[in-house]
């Protein structure tokens, strides 16, 4: 019987769309990433907490974070280490740029094949795209069972996991064989805070490409402490079919982006007669609010 030793949390660094200011969008209608803080996707933090709970219950298990993104996405891995993760993998390279959910889940599944986790945990969805597709697609690509909308870890052993799922009108408890992919809801337990000693221990952790440009002192320092080295995979490291990566692997085409500006206009008084109601209907249809 295989023991649960490696739990991988898929996490994403996202622009903080919860605190959107007036300059959050560019005039062209794209997200102005410079104006929004880059944060740990909130539901991925719930996922991290659930993974850490699995670790708490499974002796010898370790939690690693896998994230795909530019170099600065290593921040997500460091943040996870400060909260209890044992390490992480940064999947980074220009080949991945422009990935939609299909290309993203393909790239992540390639990395996961290499990492060989016993459990994969992820947030239900990221606040920038809100698709909730990546977790299920990864499960499908790796041919693993999946438990979505997870709210609570009920039980875990080396062969199976029992999870409470949050459904639209209630909840259900399911048992899944392991390995499996679990996607976690925001209604699950909040992630534990950063831990003082862990922050002090891991504050200098760097991914390979960050290390390459670090000072000699820092390089020597990290060389003596392998736990400070965040593993980085380039595209070639995870043996992908290049056609399925990035833009070429992304069938999603954005047709048009509209910049919607909500503006308070002068109030208009309508009477209850047919003529006013008809004119309001016409107006709403013209503005695409209806129809």
């Amino acid at each position: 019987m295989k023991k649960v030793t490696k739990i991988v949390v898929m996490a994403k660094q996202v622009p903080d769309t919860r605190n959107v200011g007036k300059d959050a969008m560019t005039p062209e209608g794209t997200v102005n990433r410079a104006a929004l803080a880059a944060i740990f996707n909130p539901e991925d933090l719930n996922a991290l907490e659930m993974a850490l709970q699995m670790k708490d219950r499974m002796e010898g298990a370790q939690v690693y974070v896998l994230t795909m993104g530019p170099q600065r996405a290593a921040d997500v891995i460091r943040e996870a280490m400060w909260r209890g993760a044992d390490g992480g993998y940064l999947l980074s390279g220009k080949e991945f740029a422009g990935s939609d959910t299909l290309a993203t889940s393909y790239a992540l599944s390639c990395a996961l094949r290499k990492i060989e986790p016993d459990i994969v945990v992820a947030g239900r969805q990221a606040i920038d795209g809100d698709t909730a597709q990546v977790g299920p697609q990864v499960a499908q690509k790796l041919d693993l069972p999946q438990v979505t909308y997870a709210e609570e870890l009920i039980d875990i052993c080396d062969t199976e996991i029992t999870i409470k799922r949050r459904l639209e009108r209630g909840s259900e408890v399911v048992v899944s064989p392991l390995p499996a992919v679990i996607t976690v809801n925001a209604s699950a337990k909040e992630c534990r805070p950063r831990n003082a000693k862990r922050v002090m221990k891991y504050k200098y952790a760097l991914a390979t490409s960050e290390l390459a440009v670090a000072t000699e002192d820092r390089k020597a320092f990290i060389e003596e402490r392998p736990y400070l080295h965040i593993i980085e995979f380039a595209a070639a490291d995870v043996n992908p079919d290049p056609e399925q990566l990035g833009l070429s692997g992304s069938p999603t085409k954005v047709k048009k982006i509209e910049n919607v500006v909500f503006q308070a206009k002068e109030a208009k008084k309508l009477t209850a007669d047919d003529k006013d109601i008809e004119s309001l209907m016409q107006e709403l249809i013209a503005s695409h609010t209806l129809g």
Binding site: R192, P193, R194, N195, A196, K197, R198, V199, M200, K201, K203, R225, Y227
Partner: protein
């Protein structure tokens, strides 16, 4: 995402004080721990960076968890269940979050699993926790008791208890009894040696014990049978795991309702001695109290910050006569004075904490090796300043907390009198601050010696030597004038006290206040010399201070020796 560290520039400023370098050097002793602990710093910069990061965690837990639970904790409060305390559910969540964040044993050495951080940083943490929930700060801040164990207990006792504090167990200091409040020399709780079991046995009762059902308690008890004064008292540790203490009741208080104030009954409870017999009150409680007073200064500063911010927010939102009320001079002046008092309280707190850090660390080093003549000099110098400044910090910050909380309600108007706004809770919570750990009147008793011995005057003269700039020069000159009043007032009091016993006692609070206002103004002035943002609040505080000094000075100069009789 509320973070009480990141949103508070003033607090961050104090972490960058130049004395921090010396404190870190003393605290880290050539950074030897770096070879043994993966979380130990490698140099001064590294240590400061770690402090900042840890305080950021405290700021987040305080802002996100503790502050969010404060209202429900105030309503729910703790209860007695089967002779033990059951905390309010919010309190339990607060403790869990702090344990997960690894914020216990903040000042303890790493060999006891502590974070080995300076008292200054611990005070900062206390301040933020108190800003979140003043009552909860008591429970968390009592980890301070571990410092007393670390300072005076044997290696065996330290190894047994300190790692438990680092793991998040809570502490209590069981000092007061029904007939021994301010007068601790009257403590009667009996400790008798049990030869068979090889432990001390405690019998009697304690009253007004904050977090009285904590895991590890420092108990002041009478080990010397037949004695009646301070010389018969010793300090012992009672471990809740051993049993023998029941919580008879929890007091129903005006404020800090989440903090269980207990009446305890000791029934043959086993205990171990800390340090030497008969030194309980004379040496150990004094050390404990000094640390606790600094804790109250931090707690008070946190409350000032909370009450000021509540008022500021309300005044900006509330509109009357077509504009927000912070645009009216009467409200704006109140807000500015609240801000100045908050900054002054914080300035005094960290000035004192730095003095404490330096001398305490040198004292610890002294236990390991002999100090050089220079170091001995340094320890003596800062010890004296710490002793002089601690009662001032406690007294001023706790009085300011009350004033700021009072004004916070005033800014809220009628709404502030309702239970709907946090300012009413802050007002109730503030009221204990100038009472416990020694009333303001008792702080004056400790501080007046430093008026007489010249501690304050000498330090004021040192502050006067600092260079000023265009924006601050006039303030410096004003403070010289105030110092002259201080000297005159002191001379008058000393002279008339020789004619009439009791004259000095009558005026001691006024003398201490004059010294305090001058010192607080000087520290703010020094900040104004460094950072322009402090110029306006320093001016505002100085205006307030000179008004208070003038009032006290007038009272003394118009007071004749016959007043001693008049006020009897």
């Amino acid at each position: 995402m509320a973070n009480f560290f990141l949103d508070n520039k003033d607090l961050q400023y104090h972490l960058s004080h130049p004395l921090m370098q010396r404190i870190i050097e003393l605290k880290e002793r050539n950074f030897a721990d770096a070879a043994h602990y993966d979380y130990a710093p490698h140099n001064v910069e590294d240590a400061l960076d770690s402090y900042r990061r840890v305080l950021e965690i405290v700021g987040e837990v305080s802002g996100e968890v503790i502050a969010a639970n404060a209202e429900s904790v105030d309503h729910e409060g703790p209860r007695v269940v089967n002779d033990h305390v059951e905390y309010a559910s919010g309190t339990v969540r607060n403790i869990e979050a702090l344990i997960e964040a690894g914020l216990s044993g903040m000042t303890l050495p790493r060999r006891f699993d502590g974070l080995n951080m300076p008292v200054t940083c611990f005070a900062m943490a206390n301040e933020m926790v108190s800003r979140g929930d003043t009552g909860f700060e008591n429970i968390w801040g009592l980890q301070d008791c571990a410092e007393t164990i670390n300072e005076f207990a044997t290696e065996e006792i330290k190894a047994k208890y300190l790692p438990r504090v680092s793991a998040g167990e809570t502490c209590a200091m069981d000092l007061t009894e029904p007939d021994a409040g301010s007068d601790l020399g009257a403590v009667m709780l009996k400790a008798t040696w049990d030869e068979e079991a090889g432990v001390w046995r405690l019998n009697g009762c304690k009253r007004f014990i904050t977090n009285g059902d904590g895991d590890i308690s420092l108990v002041l008890a009478r080990t010397e049978e037949g004695t009646k004064d301070a010389r018969g008292l010793s300090m012992l540790i009672y471990d809740k795991r051993d049993g023998g203490v029941k919580v008879r009741r929890i007091e129903n208080k005006l404020g800090i309702k989440g903090s269980p104030t207990c009446e305890l009954v000791f029934n043959n409870a086993p205990a171990v001695l800390v340090g030497d017999r008969k030194m309980g009150l004379i040496k150990y409680v004094m050390s404990l109290m000094n640390a606790a007073r600094l804790g109250i200064a931090a707690q008070s500063t946190g409350l000032c910050e909370a009450a000021y911010r509540e008022a500021l927010k309300y005044a900006a939102e509330r509109e009357q006569f077509g504009k927000s009320i912070d645009k009216f001079a009467a409200v704006a002046e109140m807000l500015k004075n609240m801000e100045a008092k908050t900054l002054a309280s914080r300035a005094m707190l960290y000035e004192t904490a730095r003095f404490v850090d330096i001398y305490k660390q040198l004292a610890h080093i002294q236990q390991e090796r002999g100090l050089t003549a220079e170091e001995r000099q340094e320890m003596k110098f800062y010890n004296r300043l710490a002793d002089g400044f601690t009662p001032l910090a406690k007294m001023f910050s706790s009085e300011f907390a009350n004033e700021v909380a009072y004004d916070s309600i005033q800014v809220h108007g009628g709404s502030g009198y309702m239970k709907d706004y946090a300012c009413e809770r802050l007002f109730r919570d503030a009221r204990i601050l100038n009472i416990y750990e020694g009333t303001t009147q008792l702080q004056v008793v400790a501080a007046i010696n430093h008026v007489t011995k010249g501690t304050y005057l000498e330090q004021i003269m040192r502050y006067e030597e600092l260079a000023h700039n265009e924006a601050t020069r006039a303030m410096g000159e004003k403070l010289v004038a105030l110092r002259e009043l201080f000297v005159k007032a002191t001379e008058r009091v000393e002279a008339l006290d020789k004619e009439c016993v009791g004259y000095k006692e009558l005026h001691s609070r006024r003398l201490v206040e004059i010294a305090g206002y001058i010192i607080l103004s000087h520290i703010l002035l020094r900040q104004a010399n460094e950072v322009e943002d402090y110029v306006a609040p320093a001016k505002i505080f100085l205006k307030y201070a000179s008004k208070k000094v003038a009032e006290a000075y007038t009272a003394i100069s118009e007071s004749e020796t016959s007043d001693v009789e008049l006020y009897k």
